[in-house]
Amino acid sequence: MKKLSILVVDDDPVIRRLLQQRLQKANYDEIDVAEDGVIGIQMMSKKFYDVILTDLMMPNGVGGIEVLEAAKEINTDTEVVLITAHSSIDSAVEAMKKGAVDYLEKPINFDELFLRLDKIADVKTILRNAQDIQQAKDVTDHAASETIQDMELQISKLQNKIDELEAILRNSSINSEERIYQALDRIAED
């Protein structure tokens, strides 16, 4: 099973079914479908998807661009791939400027689609690994900083004591024996 949750948003039932079947056959473990942009946005509000595959042109005033904007508003970790007719490539490029990760032309070349999805999955794996490394580093840093800061305060306290001892031992207004007693008292203090 390939670990990517995918939401297909397309108002064309044939394409919707075709995408769902081919993705299932390609072993993607979690595929949901939405029959238009409005339903798609409702679904992504309730559940996180790694990838949203959305048609660019859809009815009811909620097209692929609106789906993209909503997806990024809900969670920036969701990647959006637009499916577009050749005639609307300019809009698809515009969508990429707004944060879409890629676009595919109709008719869909499924080998191309699976390559793009694999690339998204690879990037997500690398990111997760990087986050794991960062977290491990944070834990080590945190432990090191606690040790260093405790030592820093101890050293400062000891330095302060040494300065006071020096002042006592150099105090010529009292005799040597008294200086030693005062110094020993100071050492005994916490």
């Binding site: 990024k72 400027k97 944060g99 840093d141 820093e152």
Partner: protein
């Protein structure tokens, strides 16, 4: 990738030290190769000695700037280590605000803060956001926030205040992200209300601090680790001079000033320590 020879490591390390104060030893050969190889190739150099010679001959210092940009580490994130910003919010800012309260009504409270190794700006913007959350838009306070860094590229990105999703999502919670940044495609830009609070400029910490003035709070975190002990001593002595007598210094959470600058004493507040000058 062009391989570096032991003799070149010595020469190039000395050159990098001279132009930036960054101390690299022979154990960091990989750093020279991974960070400088593309600059050497771009300038048609077959070796690092050639790159060194070209950099020294370049009157416009363009290669020097590229080398500094490549060699300086810009590892940073918003609210890095969290504790210093809690300290700022709950201890340092309230104390400084009290101490700087104007003597007569109608006057403003002026507070100057310096992020001495600002890198790509995340630290200074985190400070600005902390202040904004605490002070809101109260006109009684006048904050001057300065961020400096030796790298042109870092300062340029900091000034632009634009970050990709990987830079932004480390350290920032969604509420702060949405409140103080605007999403443009795949990048987030700091909002004008925060951008207007800060200033960035290029500055080499090895140089004299003339013209910087006095600061109430200085953040000098995770930069001195790249310097020699002698340079660290000089740096923190200059910082002591640039800090108000009752000012606050914050260094990196794994850094220490023991044996570096006796003018500073460490003090603990909750889980953090900060430094103040000896009375």
């Amino acid at each position: 990738m062009i391989k570096i020879t032991p003799a070149e490591i010595k020469t190039v390390a000395q050159y990098i030290y001279d132009i930036s104060g960054i101390h690299l030893d022979s154990s960091k050969a990989y750093l020279f190769e991974t960070r400088l190889s593309s600059i050497a190739e771009e300038h048609g150099c077959k070796s690092y000695s050639e790159l060194h010679q070209q950099a020294k001959r370049d009157p416009a210092k363009a290669i020097e700037r590229k080398i500094i940009n490549a060699i300086s580490t810009n590892e940073t994130l918003f609210f890095r280590d969290k504790n210093p910003f809690e300290l700022l919010k709950h201890k340092i800012l309230p104390e400084i605000i009290d101490a700087r309260a104007p003597r007569s009504p109608g006057m403003k409270t002026n507070i100057r803060i310096w992020s001495a190794a600002a890198s790509t700006g995340q630290e200074l913007y985190s400070i600005a956001i902390t202040i904004k959350e605490l002070i809101k838009n109260d006109p009684a306070y006048n904050f001057t926030l300065l961020g400096t860094d030796i790298s042109d590229d870092a300062i340029s990105q900091a000034s632009y205040g634009k970050y990709n999703k990987f830079e932004i999502e480390r350290g920032l919670d969604q509420r702060v992200l949405r409140q103080y940044f605007t999403l443009f495609g795949n990048t987030w830009k700091i909002k004008d209300e925060i951008r207007a609070m800060v200033n960035f400029r290029k500055f080499n910490l090895m140089q004299p601090f003339t013209g910087l003035g006095k600061f109430d709070i200085i953040f000098c975190r995770n930069v001195a680790i790249y310097f020699t002990l002698e340079d660290r001593k000089r740096l923190f002595n200059k910082i002591a001079d640039a800090l108000a007598d009752d000012g606050f210094l914050l260094i990196g959470s794994t850094e220490s000033l023991s044996g570096v600058c006796p003018q500073f004493i460490p003090k603990r507040h909750l889980r953090s320590i900060f430094y103040q000058k000896k009375a």
